[in-house]
C-alpha cells in the first residue's frame, strides 16, 4: 500500500487563521472564520491552477513550502498590513503538493467594518505573499516541468 503524506501547519489567534496544508482548500472555512457582526465587508481572493502557460498546456501545478518559515512570513505580512487597514478577521490558506487545473492553491480573505479596508488588505497581502513566502511552484506539462519564479529578479546570493 502506498502511503500519502498529509502535512498541515497552522497559526491561529483571535484575529487570524493561517494554514499551510496538503488538503484541498475550502472557501467556506474562510467565510466561517471571517464573518462577524462588526464587519460589513468581506473580500476573498482565490488563486487557481490555469490550464495554460503562454501556449503550453499545463497539466497541473506542484507546490513545495518551507512550511515553518512560510507560516511565520505570512503572519509577519498580515501583522504589517493590519497596522494600516482596519481588518478584524484574516484567513490565509496555502496548499502544498499537487494542485490540478481549477483547484485552489491559495485563499486570502479578510473582513472589515467598511469594505475598503478588507479589499485593499487582501490585494496587498496576496502581492506580499507572492513576493516573500518561501513557497515554490512547479508547472507540469506533457513534455516536462519547470520551477516558476514570481519575480524575475536576481537574488543576493
Amino acid at each position: 500500500l502506498k502511503s500519502k503524506i498529509l502535512s498541515q501547519i497552522m497559526s491561529t489567534n483571535d484575529r487570524d487563521q493561517i494554514i499551510i496544508t496538503s488538503d484541498p482548500l475550502n472557501v467556506q472555512r474562510a467565510l466561517d472564520h471571517i464573518t462577524i457582526p462588526s464587519c460589513g465587508g468581506i473580500s476573498i481572493f482565490c488563486g487557481t491552477t490555469r490550464d495554460t502557460f503562454q501556449d503550453k498546456t499545463v497539466l497541473y501545478l506542484e507546490y513545495e513550502a518551507y512550511e515553518a518559515m512560510a507560516i511565520k512570513e505570512i503572519v509577519r505580512i498580515c501583522d504589517d498590513l493590519a497596522a494600516s487597514f482596519d481588518v478584524r478577521k484574516i484567513y490565509v490558506a496555502h496548499r502544498t503538493g499537487r494542485v490540478d487545473v481549477c483547484e485552489t492553491s491559495i485563499i486570502v480573505a479578510a473582513s472589515s467594518p467598511h469594505r475598503s479596508d478588507a479589499i485593499t488588505f487582501v490585494s496587498k497581502a496576496v502581492d506580499k505573499i507572492k513576493e516573500r513566502a518561501p513557497v515554490w511552484k512547479k508547472e507540469w506539462y506533457e513534455d516536462g516541468s519547470v520551477w516558476k519564479e514570481n519575480c524575475k529578479c536576481t537574488g543576493p546570493v
Binding site: E64, M69, K72, I106, W136, K137, W147, C151, V157
Partner: protein, 82 residues
C-alpha cells in the same frame, strides 16, 4: 566552527539530492560567503549563484550572523507561491 542544519528546497533540493543535512560552517556567515561554503559540499549549487537568497532560523538573512549549532539555514530559490 558550528555544525548547522541546512535545508534545501525546490531546485536546490533537486541539485543536492537532499532535503536537509548538517554542515560544518564558519562561525560567521553572510550573504557573501554562504553559497561558497555550501558549494564546497555541493559544487552544482554554483549554477544557482545570483538567484538565491538565504534564511536563518526561518527569517530572511540580511547582512551577517553568528551561527550556533542549533541554528537552521536554508537556501531560498526564487519563490513562486500564491
Amino acid at each position: 566552527m558550528p555544525v548547522v542544519t541546512v535545508l534545501y528546497f525546490a531546485r536546490c533540493r533537486e541539485i543536492t539530492g537532499k532535503v536537509q543535512e548538517k554542515v560544518l560552517l564558519p562561525e560567521t556567515v553572510s550573504l557573501d560567503n554562504i553559497l561558497t561554503e555550501l558549494a564546497k559540499v555541493h559544487p552544482a549549487l554554483e549554477t544557482l549563484r545570483g538567484k538565491l537568497t538565504v534564511a536563518h532560523n526561518q527569517a530572511y538573512l540580511e547582512g551577517s550572523v553568528q551561527l550556533q549549532s542549533t541554528d537552521e539555514i536554508a537556501l531560498i530559490p526564487p519563490v513562486s507561491g500564491g
